[in-house]
Amino acid sequence: MKEITYINPVLLIAVPLALAFIIPILKFVWEKSIKWIPVAGFLFDLIVSITLIPIVLQKNIIVKIGGTTTPFSINLVVGPAGLLLSIMISLAGFLVAIYALKYIQEGDKTKYHILFMLLLTGAIGVVLTGDIFNLFVFFEVLCISSYALVGYLGNRAGIESSIKYLIQGSIGSSLLLVGIGLIYGQYGTLNMADLAAQIKTADSISLFVPMFFMITGLGIEAAIFPLNSWLPDAHSSAPSSISAVLSGIAIEVGLYAMMRILFTIFAAESFMGFLLFLGVITLLIGEMSAFSQNNIKRMLAYSSIGQIGLIVFAFSIATASGLSGGFFQMISHTLNKALLFLATGFMIYRTGSMEISSFRGLGKKMPLTALFFTIGTFSIIGLPPFVGFASKFLIFKAALAKQELLFIILIAVIILTTVIEGAYFFRIIQTLYFKESDDKSSKQESAITALIPMFIFALLILILGIYPNWIMKFIHSAASELLNKMSYLRSVLG
């Protein structure tokens, strides 16, 4: 068979890393260019990721690093699922980097850009790697840069949230490391495919304990219910561009890593029933906590918890259509939440307050920003013709296809949460458009560099909402890759 030539996917990680390392030197040479570096880096990643799609749809790309023999050296496994996440990460990174050109005015900007790049590079590393220890390392890259970015503004809230996040996150990574150690001690290998080949399915306590450790460790970053206390603080205190990335990317990457471990390594079918409940509880808690918030970023953060719960629910259905729904919901959540946070960022910037009541009359003052915010809101509630509808639709469809009473009850709970979600989001819409503001100052639209990424997000929300079929093939293959342990094994071990 003719070998397909492609750009080596390791560049997805190496190039942003190299660019991040260059930035400190650039500071002495050409300081103005620094803020364009993340834009360039993620544009490169986006293009490379997209060019890889047709190859990946045929078979997984296995990239060896630092050695040729498979279980002994680290490898990247670029499958549809990983590539899908990687595209989302680079897209969000690219657009948020454009947004940050004007938005970031405070603090040490050079360091912001470095941290931002490394945050997303770590995320790409997590989704592409095929080695659990390497996953841990990139996970730490992701976590540490987010600790630093949450405290970046240096205000009271930021520092407090950052330190709390750091404590919880470090416990998480320690637990993850214990889990990895327990697994390594038993099987003597770190390669996911090799592990998966030795573990047929999780059945004994000696497998469950490391699994629980890893679930807890990753669950902290993935913001599953009892582990998500850091999230509302961190997401509401970070600069809005970072909140967009944290909400849109970081927690989903954590979730992806968790699901990869559950499905590929442990194949823990029996654990999925528990996760199903956990997902619904997370959803319920998140939406209920968001309901009576007055701080808009905190509300959005709680709403992220809810969305994560929905994604967990979708993944735990553990059928191909359930996983497709989960992936679609991930995409939709990334687009929606990133858009919402970006729009909110400039709204806060103009009004100087995070209280929802201070946004009165912004529909007139910042018409485009408010319009984009509205689109994001409608989409996240799941109203057609926006992308959130397509994803919720898929999840409901997958859950009902199980034809069990349990799923109907769980869906009733999900409906309840959607109603709560609608209640608090529509309240903001009313505040934006239908309440008079006190001051009569003239138009203060967001900066153009902020409007462009918002516009692209909104456009994607609309287009994918109307034509979800365009990405369905990709999502289906991502779902079947994640679900089908054996094909993953075959592709890696040959």
Binding site: I65, P71, T121, V141, G154, L182
Partner: protein, 226 residues
């Protein structure tokens, strides 16, 4: 009450770990990949120190991530500490003996660190350890001679260039030989000599510089604060 409850939780967790540990005989067997590395490491990478061949050879991607983490720590620390107001403390001058002693020791410490990271592939040690020693040298100066600061430009450049060399060496591997990232494309040389193990010593030297300067910048920031 809370303490009691905490203890119960922790005991449950540890009991779980003990159950799992039963599956792992202590001190009996090498792991699957461990065996392979010990058996083939010196032939495949040319490094006498198998730990080094794992760290910079087989699992060098981890090391790249690790360097990134350290870089992040330095950057993040800087980002967090930039916005504080600088307070001027009157720092008491160190005594003459301490001062002179440190100045005397400083080059020796640097020399020692250079030895450690250059010989990383031959003996216990390597870039990280060497870098830590470099930083300890600078720490000595900071403690003994208040008011002395490192050259920030030089430090930043060595920090960046160290990382870049790592990535560029890795990327060259994409174009030569087996065409994979971080391939050891240089000749392996003879085992147990300084010029052996291909790119490993080069990477370790770069890492030594990078780690050293990163720790320096951490120390520098921390010293500014106090």
């Amino acid at each position: 009450m809370k303490k009691f409850f905490s203890l119960i939780l922790l005991i449950i967790i540890v009991v779980g770990m003990i159950y799992t540990i039963h599956q792992i005989p202590f001190g009996k067997n090498q792991s699957k990949i461990g065996k392979y590395f010990v058996a083939n490491g010196k032939d495949e990478t040319g490094a006498a120190n198998i730990v080094t061949s794992v760290v910079v050879g087989y699992r060098s991607f981890d090391t790249l991530g690790e360097v990134t983490v350290l870089f992040l720590a330095a950057i993040g620390l800087g980002a967090i500490l930039t916005t504080t107001k600088k307070q001027n403390h009157d720092i008491e001058k160190a005594s003459l003996i301490l001062n002179t002693g440190c100045r005397f020791l400083f080059p020796l410490v640097l020399l020692f660190s250079a030895y450690i990271f250059i010989h990383g592939h031959l003996s216990p040690g390597g870039g990280f350890q060497g870098g830590a020693v470099v930083a300890s040298g600078f720490l000595l100066i900071y403690l003994a001679c208040p008011g002395k600061r490192i050259n920030k430009v030089g430090n930043t450049i060595s920090e960046s260039v160290g990382g870049l060399i790592f990535i560029i060496l890795g990327a060259i591997g994409l174009f030569v030989g087996d065409r994979y990232f971080l391939a050891n494309f240089l000749p392996k040389g003879e085992l147990n000599t300084l010029f052996s193990a291909g790119i490993i010593p080069i990477i370790y030297i770069a890492l030594g510089f990078k780690v050293g300067s990163e720790l320096n910048s951490v120390i520098d920031k921390m010293m500014e604060e106090s």
